[in-house]
Amino acid sequence: MDKKEWPLWEVFIRSQHGLAHRHVGSLHAPDAEMAIMNARDVYTRRNEGVSIWVVKASDIAASSPSEKGPLFEPANSKVYRHPTFYEIPEELGHM
């Protein structure tokens, strides 16, 4: 067995349609350059993308699943942030 495991990289791909980079999966590689090469082979075999980002998984800070409730509560209670909260008279047409 190898002495040390290659770090894990999270892979983000931007597709051709002008959308933002999107997380597609992860892979192991010794460095960023190899991670991009490997990401090309693992995640873009069918023209899925025109740009690749890789980020070391250990560099990602994530919100904690157990604090999901309190963390997102402020948005939950603000239904007036959605357009559907407001009733517009039908005769006015589309707004």
């Binding site: 190898d2 495991e5 290659w6 075999r45 069918r46 699943p65």
Partner: protein, 331 residues
């Protein structure tokens, strides 16, 4: 299937009353079709069963490259060779998606590799059969990938987020595999008498092992019942096998091949094909290491790993050198 007879480590299913509050709310989320994500609380048995199932599936993809890889250098045309290369490369990709999904459950890639290379881990029985002629490549795509799809399509809806996402990617790519296999069989079945014989011979050899892929009947299995409750198994083995037979028999008939089962006949009452007894003794022999190619598959796998060692070490050394240079420059 690609993961056959996955054990849960449990002897019976807990009732809702027996569950701890955590277990109960976990089960309620699953019942409500809410995905479980890494780092969220989950019962230890769920985590361990999933690691077993996903890694077995991954190992099958990796070992599955071997029977087909056998024909890359001997494909009949350059086009067929390019297609087969792409397919085998997909299998490697599928293995990688699945290893990553397994790693989110807290097992390391090195541990998984160790389990495979030491022979401790299981992989699907189907990959221990030899590919004797070019027609076998057609039969594998058509039957083996066809059987795999039966199982993988419902797994796209499984309860564990990373596994479900890996299955979605895999299913997108897998239908190319099945169609290219059927395309090979179709060409041969409409070819010279010798080519037709080759196609029939491949079907004769791959039919029963393909039915075995679904595993023995699990109608009374506690493990399957638990896995279904957790939604990491969606259909019973018999259900999927029946679906596969019903789908495949007309495809064989269409190209004039005969399914090698004298008991096979349409049952209008059931609306399904009846089919003959499967030789489960053979299945148990193959999964316990005594199939036609078990030793060869493992040896090839270990050799590939050992022969790639210098590449991994060189990549490591290069990464270390570059990092050191970058550090010196920054200082």
């Amino acid at each position: 299937m690609y993961a056959q007879m996955v054990k849960t480590g449990l002897e019976r299913i807990q009732s809702k009353e027996e569950m701890s509050p955590e277990e109960r709310s976990f089960q309620e989320r699953i019942d409500a079709d809410i995905k479980i994500e890494p780092k969220e609380w989950m019962p230890e048995a769920y985590r361990k069963t999933l690691i077993r199932q996903i890694s077995q599936h991954a190992h099958s993809e990796i070992i599955g490259m071997q029977p087909e890889g056998n024909w890359i250098t001997r494909a009949p045309t350059l086009e067929r060779k390019a297609i087969l290369l792409a397919k085998v490369q997909d299998e490697a990709g599928h293995g990688l998606y699945l290893y990553c999904a397994a790693e989110t459950l807290g097992v390391s890639r090195d541990e998984l590799m160790e389990q495979l290379n030491s022979g401790k881990a299981k992989y699907s029985s189907i990959f221990n059969y030899p590919t004797l002629t070019w027609a076998d490549i057609g039969a594998i795509g058509w039957l083996v990938d066809g059987a795999a799809i039966m199982n993988q399509v419902p797994l796209q809806r499984c309860s564990y987020g990373p596994y479900s996402r890996a299955m979605i990617r895999i299913c997108k790519e897998e239908s190319f595999h099945q169609r290219q296999g059927y395309d090979i069989m179709m060409k041969l079945a409409r070819g010279t008498p010798e080519q037709q014989r080759m196609a029939q011979d491949a079907l004769n050899r791959w039919w029963w092992p393909s039915l075995m892929m679904f595993g023995p009947s699990d109608a009374d299995s506690v493990h399957s019942a638990q896995s279904m409750m957790w939604k990491i198994k969606i259909n019973s083995n018999d259900e999927l096998r029946q679906k596969f037979v019903d789908q495949t028999v007309p495809q064989a008939e269409y190209i004039g091949l005969t399914v090698p089962d004298p008991d096979l006949k349409w049952n209008a009452e059931r609306g399904h094909y009846d089919f003959g007894e499967i030789n489960w003794d053979e299945f148990y022999q193959v999964i316990s290491g005594n199939g036609p190619c078990n030793r060869q598959r493992l040896r090839t796998r270990v050799n590939a790993y050992e022969e790639g060692r210098w590449v991994r070490e060189a990549a490591d050394a290069y990464a270390a050198k570059k990092a050191a240079r970058a550090q010196a420059k920054a200082a």
